[in-house]
Amino acid sequence: MVKPTKVTNSIRALREQAGLTQAELAKQIGVTRQTLIAIEQGRYSPTLELAFQISRAFGVGLDDVFQYPSA
């Protein structure tokens, strides 16, 4: 249940690059700020739909936001 996910993400870097606060990005993708924090810190794996919404909010591809080890 509390095992960390292997999926890593670059949300924080992309968000800071875009000049967005956590609250602004959370509102844009329709989640609470706490959920966005949990995703950023790898404590919650977003659904595929939410992952696409996040990547679209930055105007980049899914692979640019989320990374998964190949082996």
Partner: protein
Amino acid sequence: MVYQERNTWATLIATVITVPIYIVIVLVEADGGPLTEVEWVPILLWTMGASIVGAIVISILWGIFAGMGDPAGVGVSDQRDRDISRLGGRLGYGVLVAFALVAFVLSMVEADWFWIGNALFLGFALATLVGDIARVVAYRRGMA
């Protein structure tokens, strides 16, 4: 803390307070005699009522207090809340089924209604506890 987590805490707090009070009242009423002779039904109903009302009151008061700091967050839930709610529900359901089986066996052996009713009550109470503890842990430590 998000709206759904506050509600989870409210239920957890109300359950943790009311269930031990019920057990103590039943034991005091028995006064060392057989538990099956205790008038447990009204005590049980009052406990369940107090637990439900207590959870609602805690949730409302906490909501008012929290809403002053974060008015936009009142009543808002998202996918993570639903995922965490399902996780707690699954674990709680397992406990409830186990105690329902105990009640089933007790009724087959024609045990006193006291034991059947209380096995079910304990099942509901522990299912709520286990489910809510799992939810709180998921909110605090994550469910990746």
